[in-house]
């Protein structure tokens, strides 16, 4: 018996402790790279005149793809706001993914659409198209509406890709609030990087409690709802610290489904969005990167720190839990599908750094954390705990996570300072103290549930949420589906 406890204690004291140290170090390193990347970006773009892209006949052409499912309440306004994006050469493709409401009719009425004899080049597989609509009115000549049978988000996007006649694809959520110069900023890396850029992503922010008028963000506020507020902190950390750093290392694995600009040629060559996973946005980027490596092509995936896209976040734990559960399953599925990347030198940074990082820190860390917690409780109940040491260990992790969040807020302050009032910033900073004890354990729980659901093959969850796009859930949920699997901060107990 005693030997067993000794063993447990050893794990507790050393193995997990050093794992935690490695995780912490990796965060500090990421932080450092992120700071470098942000600084370089801000310096380079502070005096750029984006109008040059706007007015040039040689700027790349872009198709904006926005799948819609049961969005009748907002679709007309959303389309209108997408149409007013600042860009020269673009088309808008709205894919009505078999909505059960009057989304399509609303569009037809508002934009004077009629069915056209569009002949689709079936390069990617998807559910049958019922009809393609364009407007009689030439002021809406940029709009194409596809009406198809329900098949989920990936399916809808694939149909849109087939119809697209432009070089780049901007995949967005139709209910996102997109900044008007988003396209200009996303396109720029395609024009200026030395290697071929295959995808760019922008920062997604939380729109809850912000003032929105006609699909445009007028004023940024800190969400009133505490759950959303936690997510604000989480998003700032994930985007400004995590993704910027990975962009610097050219090891970025994920671009949010809420907004990403892709090279159409490569997307089609590697087979489009996958129907097999709930994390289609992550899976696509990994597959595109693989494709480039397999064909020995030099490439880059770029993230830009400008806040370009605002999304409504879940405001109750149930919906949020479902979202995180799905993100976890998406991660597992992507990691499993591409398991041969693991420490595969052929894929350089993708195989040697990004993949292992995701495997150990994104997938494994929450599990270890959960196990740590359970064994702690177990030992504690048997009175085998050195309370003082445990307290110190716990406090170390706690202090570190506060530091990390504080640095994230600093980054935000030094770059875009969206939250202009000192009060809002203070709120964010104070939130960093509660987050590790209140919010973080929940994300661990959801993540573990995701694992359990995935490995027990609890398909009901899977199909239900996949129908999530297709399905009978609230609007917030729809947004959630498409959001990225986020980089979650980990602490270890």
């Amino acid at each position: 018996m005693d030997a067993g406890f000794y063993f447990f204690e050893q794990i507790f004291n050393s193995a997990i402790f050093y794992f935690a140290l490695v995780v912490m170090c990796s965060y500090i390193i990421l932080c450092f790279f992120s700071a470098l990347e942000m600084k370089a970006y801000m310096r380079k773009n502070s005096f750029i005149d984006y109008r040059e892209i706007l007015v040039s006949p040689y700027a790349p052409s872009v198709s904006i793809l926005a799948p819609a499912y049961n969005e009748e309440a907002t679709i007309v306004d959303n389309v209108k706001s997408i149409m007013s994006l600042h860009y020269g050469n673009f088309e808008i493709i709205i894919i009505n993914d078999g909505s059960k409401d009057s989304s399509l009719q609303k569009l037809i009425d508002a934009y004077q659409l009629e069915k056209v004899n569009f002949c689709v080049n079936e390069q990617l597989h998807h559910k049958p198209i019922r009809g393609i609509y364009k407007s009689r009115n030439s002021s809406y000549s940029r709009l194409i509406v596809i009406d198809k049978e329900n098949g989920g988000k990936s399916d809808a996007l694939n149909a849109g890709i087939n119809v697209s006649s432009k070089d780049l694809l901007l995949c967005i959520d139709v209910d996102c609030i997109v900044e008007q110069d988003a396209l200009l900023k996303l396109v720029k890396p395609y024009l200026e990087e030395k290697k071929r850029v295959i995808a760019t992503g922008g920062v997604v922010r939380i729109a809850n409690s912000c003032e929105v008028e006609d699909g445009r963000l007028v004023k940024v506020h800190m969400p009133k709802n505490i759950i959303s507020r936690f997510q604000v902190l989480e998003y700032i950390r994930a985007f400004l610290m995590g993704r910027m750093a990975w962009s610097r290392l050219n090891g970025l694995l994920i671009i949010s489904g809420a907004m990403g600009l892709f090279d159409k040629e490569i997307v089609i060559k590697c087979g489009g969005y996958s129907h097999e996973t709930v994390g289609e946005d992550m899976e696509l980027v990994v597959r595109m990167r693989r494709y480039m490596h397999d064909h020995n092509l030099k490439y880059q995936v770029v993230y830009i720190p400008d806040p370009l896209c605002w999304t409504e976040s879940p405001i109750d734990f149930k919906v949020l839990g479902r979202q995180r559960n799905r993100w976890t399953r998406g991660t597992i599925e992507t990691l499993w599908t591409h398991r041969d990347l693991f420490f595969n030198p052929k894929y350089s940074i993708l195989g040697l750094l990004s993949y292992p990082y995701w495997l150990f820190f994104e997938w494994l860390a929450p599990i270890l954390e959960g196990i740590g917690l359970i064994s702690f409780i177990l030992l504690a109940s048997l009175g085998k705990i050195n309370w003082e040491f445990s307290g110190i260990l716990f406090f170390m992790v706690y202090a570190f996570s506060i530091l990390l969040s504080t640095i994230a807020v600093l980054f935000e302050e030094r770059s875009y300072h969206q939250y202009t009032s000192g009060k809002d910033v203070l709120k964010l900073l104070l939130l960093a103290f509660i987050e590790p004890i209140v919010y973080h354990p929940l994300t661990i729980y959801w993540s573990i549930r995701g694992n359990i659901d995935k490995f027990t093959g609890k398909k009901t969850w899977g199909t239900m949420t996949r129908a999530g796009f297709a399905g009978n859930q609230k609007k917030t949920e729809v947004t959630a589906v498409s959001q990225a699997v986020d980089i979650k901060e980990q602490q270890n107990v």
């Binding site: 007015v55 209108k80 600042h86 006609d214």
Partner: protein, 121 residues
């Protein structure tokens, strides 16, 4: 003399145009974004409309379309004043029925002459 609607989101341009046209004794109404423009177009009538293409909320092309479809406004001459001189945008604008397309940077005097000419028609 004439009532002119200017739709322009750049403060600087708006100011310059507004004052310049007021100096020529025109009555000037301004709209700073597409939404405001649509309201103003629907609620009143004008002798001339000057519009930008890239506008907040509603694109200039859509506004042109709306104006040209509204019976009491369809005959109102329109000038597009835009930094975007892309062939497809210019063609689109003319197809919708605008009378003139001026790209930035532009000559203010030239603009006032064009305004005068269109108002005479």
């Amino acid at each position: 003399m004439a009532k002119i609607l200017i739709i322009e989101d750049e403060e600087l341009m708006l100011k310059a145009l507004e004052f310049r046209l007021k100096k020529d004794e025109h009555e000037v109404v301004v709209a700073k974004d597409g939404r405001e423009a649509l309201q103003k177009v629907q609620s009143d009538t004008y002798d001339l409309i000057i519009t930008d293409i890239m506008l907040p909320f509603v694109s200039g092309l859509e506004i042109i379309g709306k104006v040209k479809q509204t019976p009491h406004l369809a005959h109102v001459p329109m000038i597009v004043l835009s930094a975007v001189g892309l062939e497809n945008v210019v063609l689109e604008a003319f197809e919708l029925g605008v009378d003139d397309f001026i790209t930035k940077p532009f000559n203010l005097t030239e603009l006032t002459i064009r305004v005068k000419k269109l108002l005479k028609k």
